[in-house]
Symmetry: C2
Subunit: 234 residues, 2 copies
């Protein structure tokens, strides 16, 4: 049985300010919840229908699950998870930096592909979408348990990595297939419609592009797809 208070508290976690105040976020679905249980994340509580195979859950009805779920098609289990303390140690051959990324699906997809290609750290400018937004958690498919997302002032923070070469994705940069990516690197992507800010472009960066077909009239590539193409090349 779910109390109205519990329902209200869980639903309030759709908003960043409430997640921050409570120190909690929501993850849903068998795969994602199982990955978080197996990770260093601390699980606060689990609500599941009798179909779920895991333990330690409050068993609720399908109808109750649909009242607390953020999904169109709720999937057996919802976990309330403690937000981990942020670590300051950032390392790795490749770091991804996102300036003002706004689409939760794009951020989730980038976290998932960072995980695939072994990138451990993503820097986000402070005006980017929150990675604990339910839609980001969902589209990251459990990869938030392995990839660390840091919110920083990108303009100043990028100076903390003097031994990394910076690459920004623009429309008229060098063909990425001709770049020598041998040193450590930060791959910087801008907002989905506004692109990269002048202040980042004015710093010492290498501009790179993914060339399009000769007959193509397309204007841009999705940011997560572009990120995947660069990472596949490294």
């Amino acid at each position: 049985m779910l109390t109205n208070n519990t329902i209200k508290k869980i639903r309030s976690l759709s908003l960043k300010k409430n997640r921050k105040a409570e120190g909690l976020f929501v993850a849903e679905g068998e795969k994602i919840v199982n990955e978080l249980i197996d990770s260093a994340f601390e699980i606060e509580s689990i609500f599941a229908t009798s179909e779920w195979k895991g333990s330690d859950a409050v068993i609720i009805s399908e109808k109750e699950l649909s009242r607390i779920s953020f999904l169109k098609t709720p999937n057996k289990v919802l976990a309330v998870v403690r937000i981990p303390a942020e670590s300051n140690t950032i390392s790795g051959e490749t770091i991804i930096a996102l300036e003002g990324i706004s689409d939760p699906g794009n951020l989730g997809t980038i976290i998932r592909l960072a995980d695939w290609f072994g990138v451990e750290h993503i820097l986000c400018s402070e005006n980017s979408v929150d990675y604990l937004n339910p839609k980001v958690v969902q589209s990251s498919m459990g990869s938030i348990s392995r990839v660390k997302v840091h919110y920083v002032n990108l303009d100043t923070d990028l100076n903390n990595y003097p031994d990394y070469k910076r690459y920004v994705t623009v429309m008229d940069g060098d063909d990425y297939r001709e770049i020598d990516f041998s040193s450590k690197r930060i791959l910087i992507f801008g907002n989905e419609s506004k692109g990269i800010s002048e202040s980042v472009l004015d710093s010492e960066v290498n501009k790179i592009s993914i060339p399009k077909a000769q007959n193509s009239n397309a204007e841009s590539l999705n940011i997560a797809v572009a990120c995947g193409i660069f990472l596949s090349r490294l």
Copy 2:
């Protein structure tokens, strides 16, 4: 001024059966509407706020636009567009085939990147999401004016292209970087969670994969990202 009948008719176009019955679909936003106006598509009517710079529009208020729009943040203009007749001529070095793709954002992103990489034709199995779904039109960013999407019985239709090699993306296939993609090819992708059906896998196909980092525990890549990585290699 919008009549209630007009509002009702436009909103009904969120459903495929109504789009099919009326022969119409909806496109929104300056960029997409302008691309469709400049294309071979036949525009039935345009509704826009006074901010819109184009001609031949019924001028409506922001409030009226929000009543007919399918977007969270309506963007100046909405066009009702006639569904084009399907052409049966399919050609090109590369064809993309999608089996049971269900996420509108993924299909829209794939249409957009097909456009970027010069792929003109996409085959979709009949149980795939409709490419004239408002969310697909939106995420394709105008590329539906150039890329043609065909709904077919994939099991039998793939036999119509004897001079194309077939590649399916699976978890345990050959490293795509080692494939000789010199002949014409059909790139086949399965449903986001169910993958490729046995009937397609049983036909004469080459199984390929995008290798993940050695230390990676990620389980899969987003289908649109995978498609972009293959196309970038061709």
